[in-house]
Amino acid sequence: MIKFDRVSKRYPNGKDALRRIHFELPAGQLTFLTGHSGAGKSTLLKLIMMIERPTQGQVFVEGQNLNGFSTRQVPFLRRKIGMVHQNHQLLFDRSVFDNVALPLVIAGFARADIGKRVRAALDKVGLLSKEKLNPIMLSGGEQQRVGIARAVVNKPPLLLADEPTGNLDPALSAEIMDLFHDFARVGVAVLIATHDLSLIARHRHRLLTLREGRLIHDGEDDDHGA
């Protein structure tokens, strides 16, 4: 689903954010990405989202080399990727329903279809009864679940999460993780960037560890490589 082929990223200020990163994520697998802040987690996610482009090497999504994508094609790549943010990135000028519907509206779904899909996604995250509320009226955990519903509403083959449990207590974190497991089970490649070691410790999954831009650990390991 995702393949990094000796990818390096150097920012214009001369900082090497990633150095020769090489890994592959298959469909249906949940993977953690960890490392201290500044280790390159954000840059790695940005390369997948094409917010940044690699200085060297190639990134593949669904077998397509992103180096061959023009700027105009970037939105269509992003429609294949569900993105969950630490701060939810919800819009408070519209209802929960409209927030979740946004990717479908953008992709050009028929109205009736949008209603069905949005309710299915909200049902999945347990917020069907709150579709008419403004997200500002929801708790942190609920807001995060709205964010997840929005990320998966158009059934993307790839789900990225940036510190999805950052502001949540362990019980809520566990709920969110359960959702991610469900998505991985139906074939979605899930990549969760986090430095929440306890979260990683509670779930035995593949773990990618970055340090100063290098991939220093890749595997199912209790040691976390850090």
Partner: protein, 327 residues
Amino acid sequence: MAPNSPRARRPAGARSARTSLGDRLRAWRHHHRDSLRDALNRMRAAPSSALMTVLVIAIALALPAGLAVLLDNARVITKGWDGNAHLSVFLEMEVDENRQRQLADDWAGFDTVKRTEVVTRAQALDEFKAMSGFGEVLEALPDNPLPPLIVVYPDNAAPGQVEALQTRLNALPEVDNAQLDVAWVRRLHAIIELGDRLIGVLTLGLAAAVVLVVVNTIRLAIESRREEIVVIKIVGGTDGFVRRPFLYSGFCFGFAGGVLSLVLVGTALWWLGGPIDELLDLYESEHSLTGMSPSTVLVLPLFSGTLGLLGAWLAVSRHLGDVEPQF
């Protein structure tokens, strides 16, 4: 999904949801409609600032539009004045009526003269009494102070020819002064032409001002909707999708400004109409002030809307790139 699509053969359960072309076209049309509605709603949500912008645009456009109307009127009124250009030839006081008629006949025979018209001293006095209201004053004078007059209508109003005729008549011993009555009309025409150019320059300058006002308004709108733009970009909105509401917004500002400028010009013309008609009456003109032509009424809001669209487009292409998702 077509059964032969490569995605259909993927073993995993999750499939990217897909849309048909028809759905996407319909959605595109809907988004245009929604963008327009959104633009109008946002204007309504902040009526005072929207009104400010619209008012600035309206005033900027009303100025050249109003001047153009006045100039058009001036052109209509003075049209044809050139056509009956004539020379008023004042004769020496001692030329008697018989000699005056003889001269008039002689001159009527010139190649370049179409006809002549005799105004005797007595006729001139009567006319002057009737027109000026100075009848009693004139009664009090011992003599008729008005000279005999022959009005000469040239065959051809070409400037050079009329002036040649004027020189020729001035050289005659009986002629006191041959006056070309059309000179001031020519000057007026020159002034009107100049006014035309000035309006052109003014329009250009103020159109640029309208564009800049919209650029600034839209720039602020982009700033205040930063989060929304970021989210749209993250979930795969194209630049066109992001741009569309702002373009509609710019067009709406421009269009509303154009409509309001029509109202301003209309009000100003109505306000000026009475005095101007009175003034024209005094000049014995049959014209009365004409308002804006239907084509102006139609074109001005569209022109203004286009300026707004241009401003929005400039703002969006300049500032939308600054708003990129960060995490």
